[in-house]
């Protein structure tokens, strides 16, 4: 069977990594699926989903790495008025960082629980915040 869920997170920083493993685990539990996989997918193009060790130092190192990759004072084509939005496109760095981190991750479900490695945490990467963000969960497997 397939379970579809989602949850929202109101972010608080322009750039930040937010641990979401607990919320994903709750969705897995809600699905009732005992054996299968869970996909964690962001609904946005200036966020990312990534997996890493939950340490403040690493979160800051990763943010610094991404900031070096896509500096705020870089010359981007995506700095112009977008008629389809009626608004400025001022977030090229968010799009670049989103490309690097990717839009999803996947984990196995065993005995009804998401199986993370001992050091693993699932992160929502916010790269154009603060904003209201939606994370979609797809659980596939057997009850």
């Amino acid at each position: 069977m397939v379970y579809q869920g989602e949850f929202d997170i109101l972010t608080s920083q322009y750039n930040q990594f937010i641990p979401i493993g607990d919320k994903v685990a709750q969705e897995v539990e809600k699905s009732g699926i005992k054996s299968g996989v869970v996909y964690v997918i962001t609904a946005h193009t200036t966020t990312g989903i990534t997996v890493n060790e939950k340490l403040e130092c690493l979160e800051d190192d990763l943010l610094d790495l991404l900031a070096g990759f896509a500096p705020e004072d870089g010359t981007y084509y995506h700095a112009r008025f977008l008629h389809s939005y009626g608004a400025m496109a001022g977030n090229p760095t968010g799009h670049m960082k989103s490309m690097i981190t990717g839009n999803h991750c996947v984990f196995p479900i065993v005995d009804g629980k998401m199986k993370l490695g001992a050091a693993q945490e699932i992160y929502l990467g916010e790269f154009d915040g603060p904003q209201d963000r939606t994370i979609r969960i797809t659980v596939m497997g057997e009850k």
Binding site: Y14, Y85, G86, A87, M88, G90, G129
Partner: protein, 286 residues
């Protein structure tokens, strides 16, 4: 002591707390020309403000009764938001000047709803600021000691002709009503030099920094404030007349205030632009 930071230019019409119907949401998007702007909680705005170091925002509704039969945020909705979040919101009123009951609506907004100023959009509401029919509205503002924020210069909203908001159409008002504090928003872009002329001649004329139409915020502000204008004009001459405004949710509240903070200004000038001038403009307790 930290100086108060005020975003003097924030539009209402997309807050979940306003209980906006789907139909009204579509209307607001179409009227504002913000075609992909979803609803958000006021907490979403507060998070952006907290991150940017903004203490308060001025909420601007828009009454379009005679042109499209609706409002992008009503005066009553603004009043309710201010009542619920007095520490964050300063509410302005809007009235369509072409309404037959415009004066009654405005007096009610000032006297009963206690709104702190008036927002007018000449291009969207289809009137010339120097039209004699506007005199009674300006007199009402003076009577209640309330300022007016006009949209100035080009508007990217649909169905807006720039001729209505050309800065030269504001001079007669500034001249004839020296007690009226008036903000011609967006630096009246692209007529920046004309805007500077008005501020030079009339101390009751203010403007705001809600302009970003090309490039990114630092590049565009450099172009406007250091190339189109002399690089020291704000610091030397207009430091009491320029207010920080973001045009949220259209432009970029965070990146624009960051760009202003990076401008080569005295701290005292920065404090004026970021909040003190807005307090003087409002002219009453917030």
């Amino acid at each position: 002591m930290k100086s108060l930071v005020i975003d003097s230019h924030v539009h209402v019409g997309f807050f979940e707390e306003m209980n906006i119907s789907d139909q009204q949401h579509v209307y607001n998007m179409n009227m504002m020309g913000l075609y992909k702007t979803g609803l958000e909680s006021v907490q979403g705005l507060f998070n952006r403000c907290d991150y940017a170091g903004i203490d308060k925002v001025i909420l601007l509704p828009m009454d379009l009764t005679t042109t499209t039969g609706g409002c992008v945020g009503t005066n009553e909705q603004v009043k309710k938001l201010v009542e619920e979040y007095p520490e964050r919101f300063i509410g302005f009123a809007s009235v369509d000047p072409n309404r037959e009951d415009a004066l009654e609506v405005l007096e009610y907004a000032f006297k009963d709803l206690k709104l702190k100023g008036l927002k007018l959009h000449p291009s969207k509401q289809r009137f010339y600021p120097d039209d004699p029919k506007m005199d009674e509205i300006y007199r009402m503002c003076i009577k209640y000691n309330r300022p007016v924020t006009f949209h100035g210069g080009m508007s990217v909203e649909p169905d807006t002709l720039s001729k209505y908001a050309h800065p030269m159409r504001f001079e007669e008002t500034a001249y004839r009503f020296p007690e009226l504090r008036m903000c011609i928003a967006h630096f009246a872009w692209p007529w920046v030099q004309e805007m500077c002329m008005l501020m030079l001649k009339y101390s009751n004329v203010y403007t705001d920094t809600a302009l970003l139409y090309f490039d990114n915020a630092p590049e565009f502000y450099h172009q406007v404030f250091s190339v189109d204008m002399g690089p020291r004009w704000i610091e030397r001459t207009f430091r009491h007349q320029v207010m920080y405004g973001s045009d949220d949710p259209r432009l970029e509240q965070i990146r624009m205030i960051d760009a202003i903070r990076e401008m080569p200004l005295r701290k005292s000038t920065l404090d004026m632009i970021l909040g003190q001038n807005a307090l003087a403009f409002i002219g009453s307790e917030v």
